[in-house]
């Protein structure tokens, strides 16, 4: 039995639907299509799958997906809470399941009609009286009820303390747009953006403007996790070894509104996730060649660069200034265009991009791809993993 999660699992298949503003079908169908595609990409059949995991926010039950896809006996199923923070949390679940033998092949899936169905931009309200609703009740009466408004609150303070400006956020958006322009799956495929476009776009929640905010997307993605030993025997599209994976929630954690900590210009929960990933993998920031950094909003990319030690606290704007996030830069990131420019599938489209980077099949493939960092949502209990090559 393993004592850490180092090198205990690999991603052997990825699948996804098209990304659109109007899928025209149910979230369940999107989940099924993505799952079936991932199984096929792994060189498996539905019979092989015995574990399933997704987000608590997903509307498609494991057993419904299983039944529709033709998956039979399940020995492991679970869910991970906290929105986009779950993006690698679900991977953590899958890795633990295969490492402990609870399951052999775990499907991780997520689908949403994020534009044509329920839109997160419309904010939180109503629902049963849970501790979560009581939490939101401290903010809804003031009108602070959308993800953009919560993230803008942290962004404003971060800008005040570090001197970061909207122009620094624009560099993140433009780097990612440059990537999306080459990615046929991206919403902004072949649609470049200028600095002026970014700076003159309407304000959503000052200091965030339109292009600082992610897409609202319909679509589904899935991937298959198994042990490295089984991965070596598969005729799959290429395996990405999971060098480490971890979750974290910090002191005085709230969901998106941790405004009561001594400082709100850093991410204690992501610091905790980073620390574990370095400890488990034995790697350092210098070993990471490229990254998929969760980007529901542009500013959150900066804080994660600091959490993972690519630069010192408060210095992310200097780190990215000379194109570090672009191809040929120190850390080519969000090479699919990210959630700002490809699609917003709650971070799970980033997991698939992470696998493509390891396989060498990204639309914007960097020369070096030994190790890829993939992170999940920010401002909430969250998670991250490091992918590497399977020998």
């Amino acid at each position: 039995m393993p004592t850490t999660l180092k090198d205990e699992a690999a991603i052997v298949g990825i699948g996804q639907t098209e990304f659109s503003k109007n899928s025209g079908r149910s979230e369940l169908q999107l989940a099924c299509e993505a799952t079936a595609a991932a199984i096929k990409d792994a060189g498996l059949t539905p019979d092989d799958i015995d574990g399933m995991t997704t987000f608590t926010m997903d509307t498609s039950d494991e057993i419904e997906v299983a039944r529709a896809v033709g998956i039979k006996d399940l020995t492991f199923f679970s869910r991970t809470p906290h929105g986009g923070g779950a993006a690698i949390g679900v991977m953590h679940q899958a890795v633990m399941a295969v490492a402990t033998g609870s399951a052999n092949y775990v499907v991780v899936y997520r689908s949403l009609n994020g534009r044509s169905g329920a839109r997160y931009s419309e904010g939180v309200s109503g629902g049963p009286t849970t501790s979560d609703l009581i939490h939101w009740s401290w903010y809804m009466p003031s009108g602070l009820m959308t993800p953009a408004s919560w993230v803008a609150m942290f962004t404003q303070r971060y800008m005040f303390e570090t001197g970061c400006t909207s122009l620094d956020l624009a560099e993140i958006c433009m780097a990612q747009r440059e990537h999306a322009v080459n990615n046929p799956n991206a919403f902004f495929y072949q649609r470049p953006m200028t600095l002026e476009d970014h700076q003159t776009a309407r304000k959503i929640v000052d200091p965030l403007r339109l292009y600082d905010c992610c897409q609202e997307t319909d679509g589904g993605t899935a991937c298959i996790v198994t042990t490295p030993e089984r991965a070596r025997d598969l005729d799959c599209g290429g395996a990405a070894l999971i060098r480490s994976v971890a979750q974290g929630a910090g002191a005085e954690q709230e969901s998106m509104t941790s405004f009561y900590r001594p400082t709100i210009s850093s991410l204690p929960e992501m610091d905790l996730v980073a620390k574990q990933n370095w400890e488990i993998s034995g790697l350092t920031p210098d070993d990471i060649d490229c990254a998929v950094i969760y980007d529901a909003f542009s500013s959150i990319v900066l804080w994660q660069l600091e959490s993972f030690g690519f630069c010192k606290p408060g210095e992310a704007k200097d780190f990215i200034k000379d194109g570090a996030l672009r191809l040929g830069g120190r850390l080519p990131s969000n090479t699919h265009g990210g959630q700002l420019s490809e699609a917003y599938i709650h971070g799970m489209n980033g997991v698939n991009e992470g696998v493509r980077l390891i396989r060498g099949t990204s639309s914007n493939q960097p020369a070096k791809n030994g190790h890829v960092l993939v992170t999940a949502g920010v401002g909430i209990p969250t998670s991250a993993m490091i992918l590497g090559q399977l020998d």
């Binding site: 401290w138 009466p141 959308t146 303070r157 509104t257």
Partner: protein
């Protein structure tokens, strides 16, 4: 969720013949531009600009004579009472097009944009006619109202000498209503109630605090055992795990620690742009999320000194808000 796949392709094929054609109904002004209709319009809309009704003032103006208000342009060709009682014109291609949409479930229709350009002001005695062309039909779009298509029409207005006096583009959305529209809340008289802020959900752990606000008190929860203050309230003290607590009134003095100005989306019941701040309270280690009132949202800044007030923000609903200290 709109038509998909082959069905959608087949439907969109049936739309193609409509793009670029005239809608085919007669749009001829039944009367010359005349003082009576102008006066009627100006009275209804309370438009007191003298150039429309005062011959003397108009003569002295740059126009030199009475002119019609430019936004009346379309009024000169609308058919009036016939719109309420008349049979639909069988030649009306626009209606025919709308029926195609109705038949496949895109029954909703809403005008979203209009644009008018005026080449010259119309004068008494002018006579206008118009021709309307269906300019474009968009691809299928997801909108706030539902899945649908935007139809653009362009109307060109000419005068008795066939000179173009103005034009109008009109954009309507034909959509599949995404769900039954929720009945708007009504008050006792049956009139629609004014929208209000979203109220907090109340339960054991927070109800006492909101009741305090309704009684004009800004309270802070305090551990009865170790005396630590905490906000937002929680059922247990994180320092000593005591579940015994009481409360004290806050001093209400503070300083803006961070803030945002919300522009989008505009939720009914709130005024936008809307300033929301995290305020460092005078009580050490405590912060409070609040609206900053009585100042321009653009003037809110980090470090701004503010003080609390319990204010009735909606009928029967008080909140703790902060305002600048003069």
């Amino acid at each position: 969720m709109g038509l998909q796949g082959k069905e959608r392709e087949a439907f969109e094929k049936t739309l193609e013949p409509y793009v670029g054609i005239e809608i085919g109904i007669k749009e001829i002004g039944r009367d010359e531009i005349n003082q009576a209709m102008i006066r009627h319009w100006c009275e209804a809309l309370d438009n007191e600009l003298p150039i429309y009704t005062d011959a003397e003032a108009a003569a002295d103006s740059m126009h030199g004579e009475i002119v019609a208000p430019p936004t009346m342009l379309q009024a000169w060709i609308l058919p009036g009472m016939e719109m309420a009682t008349g049979e639909p014109d069988p030649n009306d291609k626009q209606k025919e097009l709308h029926r195609l949409f109705d038949d496949v479930g895109y029954t909703g229709v809403v005008a979203t944009n209009t644009e008018q350009e005026y080449n010259r002001y119309l004068k008494l005695g002018d006579r206008v006619k118009a021709v309307t062309v269906i300019e474009t039909i968009s691809e299928q779009k997801a909108t706030g109202l539902g899945i649908g298509y935007f139809i653009n029409t362009k109307t060109t207005f000419t005068d008795q000498n066939d000179e173009v006096v103005g034009s109008m583009t009109f954009r309507v959305l034909k959509f599949e209503p995404s769900q039954q529209p929720a009945a708007a809340p009504t008050d006792d008289s049956g009139a629609p109630a004014k929208p209000t802020r979203i109220r907090p959900a109340l339960a054991h752990d927070n109800q006492w605090w909101w009741e305090g606000v309704q009684a004009d008190k800004f309270l802070i929860q305090r551990c009865e055992d170790c005396g630590v203050l905490r906000h937002p309230p929680r059922p247990m003290c994180g320092e000593c795990q005591s579940i015994r607590w009481d409360s004290v009134e806050a001093t209400g003095q503070g300083e803006v620690y961070s803030y945002v100005v919300i522009h989008y989306p505009e939720v009914p019941g709130y005024e936008y742009p809307l300033a929301v701040a995290v305020v460092d309270l005078e009580e050490p280690g405590l912060r409070f999320v609040t609206n900053v009132v009585d100042c321009d949202p653009e003037d809110v800044h980090i470090g701004m000194k503010v003080e609390a007030e319990v204010r009735e923000m909606d009928p029967d609903f008080k909140m703790v808000v902060f305002k600048p200290i003069a």
